[in-house]
């Protein structure tokens, strides 16, 4: 497409179009201003006269009019009572509104916005980390059921109230009832058994873990056949540990939680420290 040769304005008049050369004060490039309705009456009339005999401008005009439609919508023509127009009964007169609309189209946020976004992301990342731990703890609470204060119980700790004994009994009953898979890690010697009960929502998981020294924080992670990892629960180990043979604390720890996967979609369970060190892996 050849651009009109009058880019310095109408002082240099373009000639050589397929029709007659444009008369004085008319240039082919006036078609833009004409399409947008920016010419005064006399100028518009003069251009129309030129247009009648100029195929090049006729061809150009179609495209320019299509663009005008796009711009008109953005300027807000005819959609003033539309929700996007931000209109109220005391709306300002048309020209002022157009200006505001134009400002909006060309407006860009200040660069500080990016800094604020990065700050916000960092803040939420920290919050999410905390939230993941809390959600894991909540899962233990919710799925552990029966008004249990904690789904986790260790051997030395459940001798107190009757309520706790009941809780301990129900968690162990759940453990006995399920399909059990056991593994002892050759490196850490942590002894882990998961017991699984298939549920409509996934799998009820009870972990029995022994030879686990403290102090440390741990979580139980389920790894799906698709490789996705989800936390089943987390807990902390006091310094004397759980299920250490030959000590007062030789009772293993039981933890209950839920996995949103049914057993047939589970590859394995992993017990890890919150630092990411793997203490045991129980394949199904």
């Amino acid at each position: 497409m050849t651009p009109p040769d009058d880019r310095n304005g109408p002082a240099e008049h373009a000639g050589g179009g397929p029709g007659e050369p444009p008369p004085a004060r008319i240039a082919h490039s006036d078609v833009g201003a004409y399409a947008l309705g920016l010419l005064d009456g006399a100028e518009a009339a003069a251009f129309e006269e030129h247009l009648a005999g100029c195929e090049r401008c006729q061809g150009e005009l179609d495209g320019m009019l299509a663009l005008r439609d796009v711009l008109a919508e953005a300027r807000g023509d005819g959609v003033r009572d539309d929700a996007a127009g931000a209109v109220r009964d005391d709306a300002p007169p048309a020209a002022v509104r157009d200006e505001a609309a134009a400002d909006g189209l060309f407006a860009r946020p200040r660069p500080e916005l990016l800094d604020r976004l990065l700050d916000g992301a960092a803040r939420r990342r920290r919050a999410d980390r905390l939230r993941r731990v809390l959600v894991a703890a909540a899962a233990v609470l919710l799925v552990g059921g029966g008004g249990a204060a904690l789904g986790a119980l260790g051997g030395g700790d459940d001798g107190g109230t009757g309520g706790r004994t009941t809780e301990a009994a129900s968690v162990r009953a759940m453990f006995r009832e399920g399909e059990q898979h056991r593994a002892t890690d050759p490196g850490t010697e942590v002894d882990a058994t998961v017991s699984l009960l298939r549920k409509p929502w996934g799998t009820y998981v009870t972990l029995r873990i022994g030879n686990l020294r403290g102090p440390r924080e741990c979580d139980l992670v389920v790894v799906g056949l698709d490789g996705e990892r989800r936390t089943v629960g987390s807990w902390s180990v006091p310094k004397y540990g759980y299920g250490i043979e030959g000590t007062r604390w030789n009772e293993p720890l039981y933890i209950t939680g839920g996995a949103g996967l049914t057993p047939d979609r589970i590859d394995r369970f992993e017990v890890r420290t919150l630092d990411g060190e793997r203490l045991a892996s129980v394949p199904l």
Binding site: D40, E73, D98, A102, R108, L114, L117, R124
Partner: protein
């Protein structure tokens, strides 16, 4: 040590994702939101910030979906504007919530998406071309009136309007829009 490395890596990825979201959408989204909040720039920035943070948090799901994120951004931004309005009735410049249904109509989203594309395409124009369009068409002035404001000959304004429209058409075509 190892934990720090993992966290550091995650942070770098998050930052990169946020920068990408910002580069791709912040400008046009801001232009869209600015109209919803009747030109209140601070409020518009707050809304864009909240919208992009939510997009960032949901990046995994959004990434899995086919197609553009923009309809999601528009819907969420709009939602934030409405909720904000409800929680501070006193602000006089806000959109009348009666006119903003909670769930936008399809054509309203389409319209917002077109505006965002146009806003982006206008951003590709040179300053002189952009100015020519703003001072004429968008401010409701004739070429001759705009020429006085811009202190350039009327012929220059006409010529700039013409080339601005041509550049705009190219910029729209590059974005898959055929006006």
């Amino acid at each position: 040590m190892r934990k720090d490395a993992v966290v550091g890596d995650r942070a770098a990825q998050d930052d990169a994702l946020m920068r990408a979201l910002y580069a791709e959408h912040a400008g046009p989204l801001y232009a869209f939101v600015l109209r919803l909040v009747a030109g209140d720039r601070h409020r518009a920035e707050d809304v864009v910030q909240e919208t992009l943070l939510r997009a960032w948090r949901n990046a995994e799901q959004l990434g899995r979906a086919t197609g553009s994120v923009r309809p999601w951004l528009v819907t969420v931004a709009r939602r934030i504007v409405i909720d904000g309005h409800r929680s501070r009735e006193a602000r006089p410049k806000e959109v009348d919530p009666g006119r903003l249904e909670s769930v936008p109509a399809v054509d309203e989203i389409d319209r917002a998406l077109r505006e965002m594309l146009l806003s982006e395409a206008l951003g590709d124009l040179t300053r002189a071309h952009r100015e020519a369009l703003v001072e004429t068409y968008f401010k409701g002035r004739t070429v001759n009136e705009a020429a006085e404001v811009l202190r350039v000959p009327p012929g220059t304004v006409r010529s700039r309007v013409f080339y601005a429209l041509r550049s705009l058409r190219l910029a729209l075509e590059e974005r898959g829009v055929t006006p």
